[in-house]
Every structure is written in C-alpha cells, then in structure tokens.
C-alpha cells in the first residue's frame, strides 16, 4: 500500500485540490487528510449597490465589478479564507451581532466542506483510490456530517480497515492549546479516549495511527511557548521553544508500537522521528502559500519500505 498523508490545509482550496490530485501524482492508492481542514477567516464581499463589490483582502481594500466577483472569490479561497457575499446591511449585522456572525461562519464552513467533498467525489469516484478525511482540533463539530460520501470516509474516533492487512486508528482531539479550540481535552481524558479506541484494534493486524496531535517531546512538536494572552515567552530576549505535543499520544504509541504514526497540528515542526519501532511523521504545513506539505509512505506488510516528505 502506498499512502499520501497531509493535514492542516485550513481552508485552502488550492491545497485541497492538490490533495485530491496527490494520489495520481505520487501513484498512491490511499489518501489521508489528517485534520484542520477549515479556514480561520471569513472575508465579506460587500455589494455597493452600483454593480460593484468591495472586500479587504490581505489588508488591501479591493473593489470589483460583477464580472470580477468570481476571480476575487478564487483569490480569497487561495489563502484559505472564506468569501461571503453580502450587502451593506448584512455586513453591519455581521459586525455587530456576534451570534449571527458565528452562525453565518459555521454555515459557510459546512457549505464549503460540502463543496470540497463533492469535488472529491467528482475526482475520485471509480478510481479505486481510498480517501480518508478527518477533522482536527480547529474544526467545528458541525462539519463532521459533511465529511462522509460514497468515496470519502471520515475515520475520526474509530478504527477503520484500509485493506486486508492494515487497520488505522484515528483521533482528531488534542491536548489543551492556548486557543481553546473545539476539540481539546486534558491529557488524562485524551489518554482514556485513545485507550478506548485502541480497544477496537484487531490483534495481529498491521496498525497505523492517524492522530492529529503529535507525541510529546519529539521533533514533531516543537513550538514557542506562549503566555495565556498568546504572547511568545522569551528567555533572555529569545523565544523559549518547548515540546507541545501530547503525553497521552506518546504513551499510546509506546504501548501499541504501530508501524506508522501520522500527525499534524504543529505546522512549523516538520519532521520524521522514531519512537521505539514506530516511525512518526509530521509533514508540517504551508497552506497559506498554496503549497501542500505531505508524506508519501509505502508499506510492505509490517514494514515501511519508504517514507518521503514532499512539498507539492
């Protein structure tokens, strides 16, 4: 089996399209998206009422006519943002009514994820390529329902069979972050969740992990330490770099020793590391550049024949 793994595309339409094209490009038979698929910003495109529309893109105010709307939306999506067409009255409401804004944002995310999955269906149906798409800690629960289709499988919080020889345990949850994102829990709770999932593993079957959060104190989880108000902690003027991965994830890897453990979450900590017999991979993320960082892994039975980080 040859699999392509990537994660943390954060709403980048270009990265998603590349993900779907990766199977053919790298001659992989399995695609795995490891979480954090939704974007973080909504960009209102406000109709001015005279056939023109304006939006702030990357800090610049842009004005387009009706003809330029789709091109503007395409550029907004390129950066992982969600374009949202509205008139001035609705924009004012979005600015002042937080509940309404949250609802619109969530609906927008669900609709965009649905559109992505439809695109996957269009591209992958009938190709025989297996496609697994899991949410991550940043993704709201509302999108989960949109992640299933005839071709796409959401493997989150369960064990799925990839083929006759291999099973995959997946989990979108992480240990606590300073951002208090939707899918976080304490290390004890996370370990309990992971043990519950491990109980579903079939003995004697080749196992891989697809855990959004990387294991603690590996090169996969290095990031600057932050204060509660999200400022970088400095030591003598220099950022203090600390391991931010999960001890629960590490404990499970040490206990089960799967052949491969796939991770994301920490974009800047691209690395491959070993924990005992397990090869742990975090391909990193550069989604804002329209570049997808991934890993191509070839499994031969219980061994990894090759593991290559790629930038596509």
């Amino acid at each position: 089996m040859r699999l392509y793994y990537a994660g943390d595309v954060h709403g980048s339409e270009k990265c998603w399209r590349k993900f779907l094209g990766a199977a053919r490009f790298y001659e992989a038979d399995t695609l795995i998206m490891g979480g954090d698929i939704t974007g973080k910003l909504m960009v209102p495109i406000v109709a001015k009422g005279d056939g023109r529309h304006e939006a702030t893109v990357l800090g610049r105010l842009e004005t387009v006519t009706d003809d330029g709307l789709e091109e503007l939306e395409r550029r907004v999506r390129f950066n992982g943002f969600y374009p949202y067409r509205c008139d001035r009255a609705e924009y004012e409401r979005l600015s002042t009514d937080r509940e309404y804004r949250d609802r619109v944002f969530t609906d927008l995310m669900v609709a965009e994820v649905g559109r992505w999955i439809a695109l996957a269906e269009e591209r992958l149906a009938g190709t025989g390529i297996r496609c697994y798409v899991m949410p991550g800690n940043d993704d709201e629960f509302a999108i989960d329902g949109a992640l299933e289709s005839a071709t796409v499988v959401n493997p989150d919080n369960r064990v799925v069979r990839l083929d006759e020889e291999t099973q995959m345990l997946s989990c979108s949850w992480t240990n606590p972050t300073p951002w208090d994102s939707p899918r976080e829990q304490s290390e004890d709770e996370l370990l309990e969740r992971l043990h519950g999932l491990a109980a579903q593993l079939e003995p004697g079957v080749n196992t891989i992990f697809n855990l959004h959060c990387p294991p603690h104190n590996t090169t996969l989880d290095r990031a600057p330490q932050l204060t509660d108000d999200l400022k970088v902690v400095l030591d003598g003027g220099e950022p203090r770099i600390v391991p931010v991965g999960s001890t629960a994830v590490r404990a499970l890897i040490e206990e089960i020793q799967p052949v491969l453990s796939l991770h994301g979450h920490i974009h800047e900590s691209k690395a491959v590391a070993k924990i005992g017999k397990t090869t742990c991979v975090n391909p990193g993320s550069a989604y804002s550049e329209g570049v997808i960082d991934g890993a191509v892994v070839e499994l031969r039975g219980r061994k990894i024949r090759s593991c290559q980080l790629v930038t596509g």
Partner: protein, 534 residues
C-alpha cells in the same frame, strides 16, 4: 470572532490555533547586520584600498557597494515575505524554476558557507587576538602579551585558535540555537559599543594628534619614534593620486564582501514573525545601516589619520613600525588614544567580537541546508536525525565542523584567499534574481497573493526588481573577476578546481538522489514539484 469598525469591510476571524514564529524583526536585523560584519569590512577596506588601489575612493566604493547590493536584498526580502519558509533560495529557486536549479544554488551556497565558516575562524587570531594582545601588552607594558599578539599572526597559532573556536561553536549548536542567539545578541551589543567609541575618538582627534598617537604606540611596542615616517619610507612614500574611477570600482569588491550578505535571514524565513515587515527591515534595512556606519568610520579615519598615512601603513612592512603584523583600523584608533588604557581595552575586546561572527552564522545556515536536503531525500535521511535531548542535528553539525576545519587549514596554508569564493557565491544570487523575474509568470497565484503584486508599464514590479538585481550582480561579478588583488588571475589551482567541480558534483549528487528515490518510489523531482491542482 473579531472585527474592527471602519468604513472598509473588515474580515472576521474565528477562534483557532495559530502559528507563532520565533524570530522578531530585531533578531533578524541583528542576524543580518552581524553577517555583514562592519568591523571586518572596514578593516579590509582601510588595510587594502589606500595601499593597493591607487586613486580609489574608499567612501565612493562603500556607497556603491551598498547601492548595488540593495536590489538583491529587496529580491530576497520579497521572496521571504511571499514564501515565508526556511531554506532561502533553495526554496525560492526550486519552486520558481526547477528543483535541480534550487539544489545547484543551495549546493553552491553551502560550499562557500562552509568555506567561510573556516576562514573567519582564522580571523579571530589573525585580526582580533593579534591586535588585542598587542594593545594589552602596550597598556600593561608586557612584552609577553605583545609577543602573544605577534604569535597570533603565525600559521599554527591561527589554526589552533580557529580550531578551538570552531569546536566551541560546534558544541554551542549541539546544545541549541537559543544559546547561540543569546551569545550573538550580547556580543553584537558590545561590538557596537566599540564602533561608537571609535567614531567618537575619530571625530574629536585631529591629524597631527593621531599621527603622534600612532608613533607613541608603535614606539612603546619597540618601534621607532617616527613609526609613521618609517612606514612611509617602507612603502616607497606611497602617495594618494587623484580620484580614479576604475580603481574605485576594483576597490568596491571589499565593501561588497560585506553588503552582499544581508540576506542570511532568508535561511530562517520560516521562523520570522511578520515576514513582510521584518525581512524588509532586516535585509535592505540592514544594508543601509551597515553602509552608513562604514561610511562614517571611513570618513572619520580619513579625517583623523588621512588616506595617505593609511595607505603607507597598509603597504609597509609592519616590522619597520615595530609591529608583528599590519594593524587594523581599530588598532590604529587605539593607538590614537594610547594614553587611555581603558579605551584601548574597550576597543580591543569589542573588535575581537567582530572578527568571528561569520563563523556561527555560516555554520548554522550550512547545517540547516543539510537538514533540508536530508528531509528532501537528496542527502541520507540519517543527517536529518535530531538528538532527543538537545533537539539539534548532531550529525550535520559534525559534518560541517569537519569540513570547516579543512577550509580553515586551506586558508591558513594560503591555498584559499579571502575573497576568492565570492565570485562563485554571487552566481547563486544571480540565479535567485532570475527566479524573481520569472516568478509572476511561473507562480502566478502565489505572486498575486503576495504582499507586493503591483505592475509598472504592464510588467510586474518584482520582474523589474529581479532584472535590476541581475544587472547589478553581473556588474559586481565583472569587478570581482578582474580585481587585481583577489580576482581570477590570483586564484590558486585548488580553488579553480573547487569552482569547476561545483556544477558536476551538484549534478552527481542530485542524480544519485534521483535514482535512489526513484527506486524507493518517489523520484526526487516529485519531492519538490507542484501537484497540478486541477
């Protein structure tokens, strides 16, 4: 979610995790300013230009060098903000032109980075400790310290001091880069104090005071009472002729040696906060800062000591002045204030901190490039392994340490000269500038999404800038090639072989990587290649 109330529509953000980058604008500004090395830059200009480039203007050469380096610094700063990733032109060229060209450029970089990790290790003893010990010997009236100073210009003393320094930094990088950045920032602050003290001394001292001070200093170290006169005689009473543009252009290669290297923060681009602002401040901004300081120091030296005296001292046999080696500008400033021991100590110690700074920066950049190659499958994966305790790539560090020791020896044995590698190094900058010209056409969406995507006369501004940078760099290459002191005619056989072998070795390594990765199932071309999104 957050919003700001203004007339222009604002964007709305939801609560989500975010990348926190480490290096601030200040960090990368210091990183690049350090790499330009004001102290050593002015030392070379003052030691060599008045003595060996008749009619050259040090001031004009320095300003030209700053101006010619600016377009290239803007190109790198642009790329660093459009593609805020670590790896420098390895990333920019690979993504814009072709992965092979990216590796070729990176390989060329690393060959010279490693060379210039070894060479500045020698500068510590050759230009730093020699002067410092002589100055301390003068202050404390100790012939033993003076003899140490003289010894530090001898081959094996230079090699041993350089080796110890290389080993020290290999250990520092093994323990982690945070320790290094602390050392860097502290040393930079002390070194800058030395520059400011030097500038103040030069501003308040007149020519006759300065010459008297140099004479008294040299006499105190065992030289004649009229050491400056002896230097004049030894140099054949070298006189400065009228302004000569051609000689000034040749002389420009020395300040270019400084100003062309304001771009090292591109190697740590993935770690820089607010890349657009920080990298523009750190690259073109630091060139302006360094050029202004070099300008002020040179004007001050011209004012206080005079170009003719500087040329005579530079061209003379230093032993006629009672000195074991030709004094740097810093030692001359110390000599001017020979009766104030504490000032001499400040000047001596602070200057030592300029002499080595290329070493750790180039060391760090080399190990990062090797790490990136190992990740990408061009070098063995083993080299990307990181020590569990310190989280540092020990194998890559050891590899660079050994190679740097070899380069240190080659320099000490006079097989390599100071500027010899710069001509070849600049070829990587040219390739990156060409990539900038083609960037909007090869990576249209990335260009459109970049912070600077305007056009002039229908041509993208980055294309204009890349073209200007290419022209400026090729102009510099001409003078680097024909420079009578360090140009191609002066290159030894070993260096010519190194230059000739860069392309074949890069091609061979890339070819082997391509073949072995193909065997494993993913060819190295695909490691970098863009997946078609449609």
């Amino acid at each position: 979610m957050a919003t700001e109330a203004t007339d222009a529509p604002q964007v709305f953000a939801r609560k989500a995790t975010g990348l926190r980058r480490e290096a601030s604008a200040r960090d990368v500004f210091i990183y690049n300013t350090n790499n330009q090395n004001i102290g050593i830059g002015v030392a070379f200009v003052v030691l060599l230009v008045p003595a060996f480039y008749a009619g050259a203007s040090m001031v004009t050469a320095t300003i030209l060098a700053g101006l010619l380096a600016l377009p290239m610094a803007c190109v790198y700063a642009y790329f660093a903000s459009a593609m805020p990733r670590s790896g420098g032109d390895y990333v920019y060229i690979s993504r814009t032109l072709h992965p092979y060209l990216g590796f070729l450029s990176s390989w060329n970089w690393v060959v010279w980075l490693v060379t210039y990790t070894g060479i500045p290790a020698a500068y510590l003893a050759q230009y730093g400790l020699s002067g410092l010990f002589r100055e301390l010997g003068f202050v404390f009236n100790s012939p033993r310290l003076v003899s140490y100073g003289d010894n530090f210009t001898r081959k094996w003393w230079i090699f041993v001091a350089g080796s110890l320094l290389l080993t020290f930094f290999a250990i520092v990088f093994t323990l982690g880069t945070r320790l290094y950045f602390r050392i860097q920032n502290t040393c930079f602050a002390i070194a800058m104090v030395g520059i400011v003290v030097g500038l103040v001394i030069l501003a308040v001292k007149g020519h006759s005071d300065s010459v008297a001070g140099i004479n008294a200093y040299a006499h105190g170290l065992g030289g004649p009472k009229d050491a400056v006169g002896a230097a004049a005689k030894s140099s054949g009473h070298l006189q400065q002729s009228g302004f000569d543009l051609k000689q000034t252009m040749y002389a420009m290669v020395w300040p270019l040696f400084i100003t062309l290297y304001a771009i090292t923060s591109s190697f740590i681009g993935g770690e820089v906060r607010n890349a657009k602002r920080s990298q523009f401040l750190a690259m073109p901004g630091s060139i302006v800062y360094v050029t202004v300081l070099m300008f002020l120091l040179i004007v001050g030296l011209n004012h206080a000591i005079g170009t003719t005296v500087l040329g005579q001292i530079g061209a003379a046999d230093p032993t006629v002045m009672g000195l074991g080696s030709t004094p740097t500008y810093n030692e001359l400033i110390a000599a001017v204030v020979h009766n104030q021991g504490w000032l001499i100590v400040i000047l001596g110690v602070s200057f030592v901190l300029w002499t080595y700074v290329w070493l750790p920066i180039n060391f760090l950049a080399s190990t990062r490039a090797i790490l990136a190659w190992a990740f990408d499958g061009i070098f063995p994966r083993k080299l990307s392994e990181v020590n569990e305790r310190y989280h540092t790539p020990i194998l890559a560090i050891v590899l660079v340490w050994i190679a740097s020791e070899v380069c240190l020896y080659l320099y000490v044995d006079q097989i390599f000269n100071t500027l010899n590698g710069i001509f070849c190094w600049v070829l990587s900058f040219v390739l990156c500038s060409i990539a900038a010209m083609l960037f909007p056409y090869r990576r249209r969406e990335l260009w459109q999404a970049s912070p600077w995507n305007g056009s002039t006369l229908g041509v993208p501004n980055i294309t204009w800038l890349g073209g200007l940078s290419t022209i400026c760099l090729l102009f510099c290459e001409y003078w680097l090639w024909y420079d009578p002191i360090q140009g191609f005619d002066t290159w030894g056989t070993t260096l010519r072989w190194v230059m000739v072998l860069i392309i074949p070795t890069a091609t061979l390594i890339y070819g082997i990587a391509w073949f072995t990765s193909k065997q494993r199932g993913v060819s190295v071309d695909k490691v970098f290649a863009e997946i078609p999104p449609e």
